[in-house]
């Protein structure tokens, strides 16, 4: 099999603070993204999902581990070599109000990457801007307009057009729709899916919203306290999660139908464990925790369904761990 487009191996990020224990934001995470694929990274605030994206973008140097892109190791690239990579690796940010230059007109924003990378002649760049605006359904009348004159949805279209300008192979999208209204969100998700079908661009889609992730992703990776707890094809993970944390996340979405019972598994809030703790990172919030969960952190193992998970309990009975276990609700203590 050919090498994946993007391979992250044992990637780790530590933040060191004076007078306080250091924080491990991303804990030896490995994952791959293939051409034309959407891989979602989900987790709560503080799970390390944005830090992971920032390392792939070259915005935060990893503490250890490697990032390979298109057959080349890019972990240590800096300066000119790293900048050249931005042709292939692009980003869409969460907040279209903060990520656009307020003093730049729409056409200049979209054109900027073409100027920086000296793509084509000025005329060709202008045509490319027209083409990109059409592609993301931004009417031509917005060409000379400033961001403050646009709605959130239109701004995010500007962000997407800018990310697409250099025909990247992968786009890291960090919560690209969470600042948008639900009807606009649906339009932008449709646009991203359509662009992917046409250009085979891959997405690393960072999100806290499991509904959105289900709609757009091929695979999903679940992070908690910087650790990859579960990874696999999105349908399999959603229908038969192999990690209690994933299960709890899925039950936490209030169904938009009053006749469907809402019975979330309450798992309390995320509290970091001391760094030298030998056990499972999730065990304090886990209603199934056993003695072994306190003394040994489980390995990430591949289950028969094709999902990988890091859990002693489900590893023992991957087919029916959840139905056999009796979930006693754990309180907020």
């Amino acid at each position: 099999m050919t090498e994946p487009l993007l391979t992250v191996t044992n990637l780790r990020k530590e933040f060191h603070r004076t007078g306080a224990p250091h924080v491990v934001a991303v804990r030896d995470v490995s994952l791959t993204v293939n051409v034309g694929q959407t891989v979602a990274v989900v987790g709560e605030s503080g799970s390390g999902k944005s830090t992971l994206g920032r390392m792939i973008l070259g915005l935060a140097p990893p503490t250890s581990g490697t990032i390979r892109f298109d057959g080349q190791e890019i972990t240590q690239l800096t300066g000119r070599a790293r900048r050249a990579l931005s042709r292939d690796i692009q980003v869409i940010f969460q907040d279209p109000y903060a990520s656009l230059n307020p003093r730049q007109r729409v056409e200049d924003t979209i054109r900027e990457p073409l100027d920086i990378h000296r793509v084509g002649t000025p005329d060709e760049r202008r045509d490319r801007v027209t083409e990109l605006m059409e592609r993301v359904a931004l009417p031509a009348r917005y060409r000379r307009v400033y961001p403050h004159e646009l709605s959130g949805g239109l701004r995010q279209r500007v962000g997407i057009a800018t990310a697409l300008a250099l025909r990247p192979k992968v786009i890291v999208a960090d919560e690209p729709v969470s600042a948008l209204d639900v009807s606009v969100q649906a339009q932008i998700l449709d646009l991203l899916a359509e662009l992917q079908r046409e250009t085979s661009v891959a997405f690393l889609f960072i999100s806290h919203d499991l509904g959105v992730v289900h709609q757009i992703s091929d695979r999903v990776a679940v992070l908690c306290q910087g650790e990859l707890l579960e990874e696999g094809p999105v349908e399999t993970v959603y229908s038969a999660p192999q990690h209690p944390y994933t299960k709890a996340l899925l039950t936490a979405i209030p169904p938009a139908d009053p006749s469907v019972a809402f019975e979330p598994i309450t798992i309390g809030e995320s509290r970091p464990l001391p760094e030298n703790d030998p056990g499972c990172r999730f065990r304090q919030r886990c209603w199934l925790a056993e003695d072994i969960c306190f003394t040994a952190n489980p390995e990430l193992t591949l289950r028969p369904s094709g999902v990988s998970a890091r859990c002693h309990v489900s590893e023992r009975a991957p087919e029916h761990w959840f139905t056999e276990a009796t979930p006693a609700r754990v309180g907020e203590s």
């Binding site: 709560e44 605030s45 959130g152 209204d181 639900v182 009807s183 606009v184 969100q185 649906a186 998700l189 806290h208 919203d209 499991l210 509904g211 959105v212 289900h214 709609q215 959603y238 229908s239 038969a240 999660p241 299960k247 709890a248 996340l249 899925l250 039950t251 936490a252 979405i253 209030p254 169904p255 938009a256 139908d257 009053p258 006749s259 469907v260 809402f262 979330p264 309450t266 798992i267 309390g268 809030e269 995320s270 959840f322 139905t323 309180g331 907020e332 203590s333």
Partner: protein, 264 residues
Amino acid sequence: MTALLAVRDLDVRYGGAQRLAVRELEFTLDPGEVLGVVGESGSGKTTLGLALLGLLPEGATATGSVSFDGVELLGATEKRLRPLRGTQLSTIMQNAATALNPCFTIGSQMTALLRRHRKMSRSAARAETVDWLRKVGIPSPETRLRAYPHQLSGGMNQRVVIAMALALNPKLVVADEPTSALDVTVQAAVLRLLRTLIDDSASAMVLITHDLGVVAQLCSKVIVMNGGAVVERGPVAELMTKPKDAYTKRLLASLPARRAEVTA
């Protein structure tokens, strides 16, 4: 029986704006009822909440009538409103970090509230505060009394805000996006808490949100707002399963295929 809250022909306009932020709004709310107000940004739902609370900014003009327990709230003076606030009419804001005062411990903020309105002794107020913190699921409340908001997580702060909103047993609570700033697991816990507290009290609630899942779980009836006006209203089950208005249909159709009801 007269309604607890009756809104009639309410128009709100900001400054010299052409468009009305809220237009010809009408609804009534009985004790114990939970009304969901759904809409996207710019629909006027937050403006409606502010109008109910008498918190519209200067420069906004409201006409019509907001009658709360026989008292007309529109145009009421601060002096008239103050005795109602907290005891009769209270609010849960979206962002707990800004709703709480960062300079005081949560214990002192909550005991101040109780002492001001109930003329309780310091020790009685403290005991009641501890009871409430326990009720909203804050672990070891005796020690958390001395915590400042920045020492607690967003979910814990929101629980404190909820406790403060309900502590004086108000007749009406206006909650504007009470769980939107929270992580999904924390939101689930706070929703369950809100549901229990509402069931246990006789308070009515106006719940403003963009999240149809939250509405489905907490509300008995719902109004859908678009461009300042109500486009559809009805009992929650009916509206969400058989929407009539085109905008409501579009809103429901925009929801990501939610698979919360997975069977593992």
